[in-house]
Symmetry: C2
Subunit: 464 residues, 2 copies
């Protein structure tokens, strides 16, 4: 999911100008999207028939072939562009509280936890240590090495559900996820033997939320896992009563990098074929669920942009490039590889669009583009406003995979979606097909298609 930092809510409320664009075609696209189940069928196949798609997995490789074939069937020019990806494989994962206040002799408490992506392993038989619970990095540092060395640190920072319910899910996530990313190294710097983080997620159904960690170069690499919110509460409650000991077993493996691909498929422009508008989502997923909201949905929307244009026999003036990115979740190698391979062609990248925040009801568009560029979106916004999706909201980041492009000045766009429940499922076993509401996915497909086609047919390329 994108690390979206929103600056301000801006509704671009232009009176409709005399249109240089074929607005009727935008409306046809929108209506065709809303009555199509193409995107939903793609999500269903990716999730149900293929399943988890973690980078390096056979399923990810199968998904690359599947999406490429689907796009070929649409008549697009399809290339697989090489990406060397990490190949991290989850192993056994178990956590058991072995000593705590009030314990019935001979018993223990089993935790719901899952290894963080990229974690090193514990010894095969596990490790056992006392748990120290902190709410923040500052609190950890305040404890000092003496109280942390040899222990397992639990970062017990709760996800702010109220904030998420109020529509700031991304911000709530941002506050919590820093411990997932940096907790292990912060704990290791003080001599901890392992780290746990409270899951960065909004629901209370005993679900651990995985996700990538980042080992800092100045700290030993220690094993790390996410515990469900309930288990963080349990440990914290017991630790307030006396020492708590935990046996932790994680046996993931980091295998050698493996060759994978971005799927890149062009629907050639009729006037400026060398100029490109990217529509995209990421094809890889985490390995606990089947990656419906994160991010089969985004891939399916991008595929549907091309499908709708073919269905309506609309030929864009600039090339519409569908990309299914590889390795958003644990490396961003796909976005980087594309940038490296195409950095000589940035001037011809007119815009990059990515959806990676599920498929909730869309309200409009996130934009990382200048004010002049935003003005050009007025015709698209006017059409999308008919389905309540006409907002254009400036943002600092609009998509992780397109980040290298947008950082280099390519105008970037994301979908502004209702994400209030996104983090209930994000990176969990419950990210499955049923989390997609078909009608809302279709609304999102409409937004991506209208936006992309509108930009592809502008009389002049978007200003930078």
């Amino acid at each position: 999911m994108p690390r979206v930092l929103v600056f301000a809510l801006v509704f671009i409320g232009f009176a409709l100008p005399a249109l240089a664009q074929p607005q009727d075609d935008l409306e046809r696209l929108r209506r065709a999207a809303l009555t199509s189940d193409y995107a939903y069928r793609q999500v269903a196949h990716l999730c149900n028939n293929i399943g988890l798609r973690l980078s390096g997995s056979a399923q990810a490789a199968g998904a690359v072939q599947y999406v490429a074939e689907q796009l070929r069937q649409l008549g697009l020019e399809v290339r697989l562009e090489k990406v060397s990806v990490p190949h991290w494989v989850r192993g056994v994962e178990a956590g058991t509280l072995t000593r705590y206040a009030g314990q019935v002799p001979g018993t223990s408490q089993k935790l719901a936890l899952t290894a963080l992506g990229g974690s090193v392993a514990t010894p095969a038989a596990g490790l056992e240590a006392e748990v120290v619970v902190v709410q923040s990095f500052d609190a950890l540092v305040a404890l000092g090495r003496e109280k942390v060395a040899g222990k397992i640190v639990l970062f017990n920072r709760p996800f702010d559900r109220q904030m998420a319910a109020q529509g700031q899910a991304g911000e709530a996530y941002g506050q919590a996820v820093i411990y997932r990313g940096g907790g292990a190294s912060a704990a290791a710097r003080l001599g901890a033997v392992a780290a746990l983080v409270r899951s960065a997620g909004g629901a209370n159904y005993r679900l651990p939320h995985t996700g990538a960690l980042r080992y800092a170069s100045d700290a030993p690499q220690i094993p790390a896992a996410a515990v469900a919110g309930e288990d963080a509460d349990l440990i914290a409650a017991l630790a307030a009563q006396g020492p708590v000991r935990l046996r932790l077993t994680l046996t993931p493996q980091s295998l050698p990098d493996i060759e994978s691909y971005n799927v890149v498929a062009d629907l050639k422009g009729s006037v400026h074929p060398e100029q490109v508008v990217i529509v995209s989502g990421h094809l890889d997923s985490w390995d606990l669920g089947t990656g419906a909201i994160d991010d089969a949905a985004g891939v399916a929307m991008a595929m549907q942009t091309a499908q709708l244009l073919k269905q309506l026999q609309l030929v864009p003036e600039r090339t519409i490039r569908v990309i299914a990115w590889m390795n958003e979740e644990n490396g961003l190698r796909g976005g980087r590889a594309y940038f490296e391979a195409h950095k000589g062609e940035l001037a011809n990248h007119v815009a990059a669009i990515e959806s990676d925040f599920g498929a909730g009801h869309p309200l409009g568009i996130y934009a990382k583009a200048n004010a002049k560029a935003l003005e050009r979106l007025a015709p698209a916004a006017a059409v999308l406003d008919r389905q309540g999706a006409g907002l254009i909201q400036p943002a600092q980041e609009v998509g992780a995979d397109i980040g290298p492009l947008t950082s280099a000045g390519v105008p970037g766009f994301g979908l502004l979606q209702d994400g209030r429940t996104y983090f209930d499922y994000h990176h969990t076993a419950a990210d499955t097909l049923d989390k997609i509401v078909p009608a809302e996915l279709a609304e999102n497909a409409a937004v991506m298609a209208v936006l992309a086609y509108s930009i592809a047919n502008l009389s002049e390329a978007l200003p930078r």
Copy 2:
């Protein structure tokens, strides 16, 4: 949870009569309950410090000792009454789809499932067979032996979430749970090698819901598990596209019955000590979560009835008997053993109260009693109405453990609670302490205490 069949919603709206009872004391009890954290602390200890309490487990035995000691500390006369309970132990549980349409070669799909309580085991290496999906017993029978023999049957009857949201959670559960109870034998009669049931629960967080099955005497005993709703959807979707094969491994064990106990603790009546009003919940739980809503909450409310009377120095005229039942979940042995041991004293059992539906906001009281008896509850209802809990609703069943007593004519009562989310967590790993809202638990404790004390102090015993 009780299998409550509600006949009609009846608000007993008597004008307050001249009261023979000390209504001020009922109000004092109510207020004391609402400002106490005693019940919550008991739930916290049972869930956090003791943990799961499946019949036969060391934790269940520890919980018996703990509750007995707590009640002794209150000054009650405590007895442990023997109950021989089943000793079923969960083992390995794994399900993997090994063949299905569109499968990437060499891959499989892992299911979220859990063995049903009492299930026999598969071979240690598992068994593998094609899955046949049905929505009902009738649909299964219509398939016939030819299409079922040698297969694994999935009963894919969804829990009616809309019905639950509208306040009929018990009824929604009743419609779904018949497949958990009887599905294995129905499938076995047609030659199936194993049975799966869609979890009887209301949420969509990839949680399997366990619970007891019943093997019929006329069918082979085959292994059975509950799959999460998502996994039932997945199997059904794939089965609609072609054959689906499943490898199922379940290694539970049914060990010899083991001795356990009902905790029975009397606060002696000052006028009719031989007459008894039971307040109760069940101490055993399933083994996936820690049994907070099912049913540490009920036990804690019953304990608090005694605690409040002691705190306020109120001596009931009849004996208040606190019972923490053993083995509600997979045998009902505790309720039956109590009935056998006390069936000569039924005339002295004035009333039996049980709470086993969580700790959601209470609206009043379920009653299995005659109209004359209900009239006597008016003073209690009037006091409880001040907190919105004054409804008295006739019901056919009011509590599983007190079922033998109420079937024999003892007036029985349960708590009428907001159960709209109860089945989201019921019998899952997510039945943990955080599901208890302390203020709502206190409201429930108030209802039980006021009802029990009111009945204990009636000038005449409740009519039958």
